[in-house]
Symmetry: none
Subunit: 205 residues, 4 copies
C-alpha cells in the first residue's frame, strides 16, 4: 500500500480527503479549459491554492488526480435526473424536465462535458485512469436506462431497446450537440430539446 493510498484509507472525511477534493476540482477547471494533453501539473496547481509539489503529496501521480477529478464531476452528473425520475407525474412533464435539464447542463457546463469526452478518449490509449472511465460509463448507461424505463412506465409501455443502445443514442446526440455548440452553433442546443423528446418516444415499444 503506497503512502498516498494509506493516507486515503485513514479516513474518508478529513482534511486530507477534503484537500484531495479541492485539488480535484482545480484539476477539473484546468483540464476543462485546456484539455488533457495540454494541461500539466503546474497548470493544475496554479488553479489551486497549493504548489505543484504538493500535488504529489495528495496524489500518487497525475492519473490518480485526474481519475478523482472526473469521477467527482461525472458521478454527480449521473445523479442529475434522479429527481425527475422520482417526481415527474406525466410523460409530458417528464420529457419536458428531462429535455430542459439536459439542455441546461450542456449549455452551462459545456467545457466540463468536453473534458469528459476528452478523458474518455484518452482512456482508449492510456490505461492510467481507464477503470474510472469505465465505471463512469457504466453509471451513465444506468442513468439513461433509468430515464428510458421510467418514461416507458409513465406511458404504460415497455422500452423497445437495450440499455447500451439507449445510452449510445442519447450520448451520440448529446456529444454531437456539444461539439456544434462549442463551434458556435447555438441553434443546435435548441434542437437538442426537441430531438431528445423524439428519442424518448422512439425508445418505446
Amino acid at each position: 500500500m503506497s503512502a498516498t493510498a494509506e493516507r486515503v484509507a485513514r479516513s474518508t472525511v478529513n482534511k486530507f480527503a477534503q484537500r484531495r477534493q479541492m485539488l480535484a476540482e482545480s484539476a477539473l477547471k484546468a483540464i476543462a479549459e485546456q484539455g488533457y494533453a495540454e494541461t500539466g501539473l503546474r497548470a493544475i496547481a496554479q488553479h489551486s491554492e497549493l504548489s505543484h509539489g504538493s500535488l504529489h503529496y495528495y496524489f500518487e501521480d497525475k492519473d490518480d488526480l485526474i481519475a478523482l477529478a472526473v469521477w467527482n464531476y461525472k458521478s454527480e452528473c449521473a445523479r442529475r435526473y434522479d429527481d425527475i425520475i422520482a417526481t415527474a407525474r406525466t410523460p409530458e412533464e417528464f420529457a419536458d424536465r428531462f429535455a430542459s435539464t439536459m439542455t441546461g447542463t450542456l449549455r452551462d457546463e459545456a467545457t466540463l462535458h468536453r473534458l469528459w469526452y476528452d478523458l474518455r478518449n484518452q482512456a482508449m490509449f492510456n490505461t492510467g485512469f481507464r477503470d474510472t472511465i469505465v465505471a463512469i460509463d457504466d453509471l451513465l448507461q444506468e442513468m439513461v436506462w433509468a430515464v428510458v424505463s421510467r418514461f416507458a412506465e409513465l406511458e404504460g409501455v415497455a422500452p423497445a431497446l437495450t440499455p447500451p443502445l439507449a445510452y449510445a443514442l442519447f450520448d451520440g446526440v448529446f456529444q454531437n450537440t456539444l461539439i456544434r455548440f462549442l463551434r458556435g452553433d447555438t441553434q443546435a442546443v435548441e434542437n437538442l430539446s426537441i430531438e431528445v423528446r423524439g428519442l424518448l418516444k422512439s425508445a418505446l415499444a
Copy 2:
C-alpha cells in the same frame, strides 16, 4: 503566404505533394497506435522513410501534418458507402450491405477510428486542425444523410429526421460500439449490425 503553403501551391501533383501524402500516412499509423497526445514527430518520422527534421520542410507544423493525415483517411471513409447507395436494389440488400460494411470497418480499422475521435476531441481545444475536422464532420454528415435518404427512397417513404440528428445517432452508436470493442467487448460489434438496421428503419416517416 508561408513558405510551406507556397510550396503546396506550386503544384498539386508533384513530388512535394506526394511526399506530403506519404508522410501523412506515416503520421496516421503512428497516431493510430499511440494517440495524439503521446505521439511525437520523431515517432511519426520513424514510421516513414524520412527524418524528423524533414517534416518541417513539408509541413508548417505538427498540426498541419495531422490535418492532412486525418483528412486523407476520413474523407475516404465518407465515400465508403457510395457504391451501396448507387447499386443496392432493395431495402433489405441496402440495409444488409450497409450494416456489414460499417461493422467491418469498425472491426478492421478500429485504431484508425479511435484516432478520428481523438482528433475530433482535440479540435474542441486546439484551433490547429479544427477546420479540417469540421470539414470532415460535414462530409460524414452528408454521407449519413445520403444513406438515410436512399434507404427511404428504396422504401418509398420520406426520412423522418434531420441530417444532423441522423448523423448524431449513427455516430453515437458507432462510437459507443468502438469503445466497447476496444475494451474487449466483442459482442458489441455483433449487436451493431442489428442496431444499425433498426436505426435505418426508425429514420423513416
Copy 3:
C-alpha cells in the same frame, strides 16, 4: 551553538539521545540497502517509528544524521578484535580467530560495510560528515595497528611497516573482497581468510 547542538548538550543519556540513536540505526538500515545517493529522509523515517518531519528535530540535517549512524556502527567495528588481541595466546590462534572474524563480518554485514565505503567516498566530496569519517578512519587504523602489533608480539618480533601502510593493506584486501563478494564471487571470501594470514606474516620484520 545551534538548537540541535544545544539539545544534544543538555544531557548525554536522556530521551533525546536515545531517540537519536534509534533514528541513526534506522538510517543505517536504509542507507545500507539503497546507498547514500538514493536514500531520502522519507525512506529513513519509514525504517523508524517516527515521521520524516521529526528528523529535523533530532538532527541538524541529513549529514548530521548520517554522521551519527555511521559512527555508531563503525566505532563498534573498530572494537571487534579487542577480545582477540586480549586473549589469543599463540600466533596461530591469533591469526585464525582474526581471519575468521574478518571473514564473518564481511559475509554477514556486507551491506553495512558497503555503506561505510560509500560514505567514506562521499566524504571526499562533501564536508558534511567528513570529520566523523576521518575519526572513524583513525579508529580503524589504530585497530589494525593493534592487531599487527599484538601479532608481532606473539611472534616475538617487531612490525615491519607503519600504521598507515598496515591499514591501507588490510583495508585494500577487505574492500576488494567485499566488492567481489557483492558481485557474486563467493570464492573471494574464502581466499580472504588465507590472504589475511599472509598479510599478518608479511607485516613482521
Copy 4:
C-alpha cells in the same frame, strides 16, 4: 536497437562519436569536481559547449554517459605503465619509474581518481554502469599483474601472490593515500613512493 545505439553503430570515427567523447570528458570534469551524487546533467552540460537537452541526443541516459566517461579515463589509466613494463631494464629502474608514475598521477589527477572510487562504489548499488566498472576493474587488475610479473622477471624470480591479491594491495595503498592526500596530508604521497617499492619486493617469492 535504440536510436542512440544505432547512431553509435553507424561509425566509430565520426562527428557523432567525437561529440560523445567530448561530452564524456565534460562529464568527467563535472563529476570529478562534485561527485556522482551531486552532479546533474545540467552541471555536466555547463562544463561542455552544448545544452543539457543535447546530452540525450548523444546518450541513452545519464548512465550511458557516465559509463563512457569513466571508461575513457580509466582504460587509459590501465595502459599508463605499459611503457615502463616494456622498456625498463633493471629492477631498480622499474621500481623507480613505477613508483614515480603512480605518485605523479595520484597527485596530478587526484580528483579523477576520486571519481573512479566514487563510481565503483555507486556500482555496488546501481546496476546502471556496473558492467563498465567491472570491465575496468578487470583491466586494472591485469595491469597490476603485468607490473608485478615483469618486476619478478627482472629480479629473476616468480611472483608470490595471486593477481586479485596483488590488485587489492596496490589498490588499497593507492586509495588510502589518495584519501589522505585529499584531506591535506601531503606527506602521504611521498610515503607512497616508498611503500609501493616495498610492495613490489614483498610480491616476490
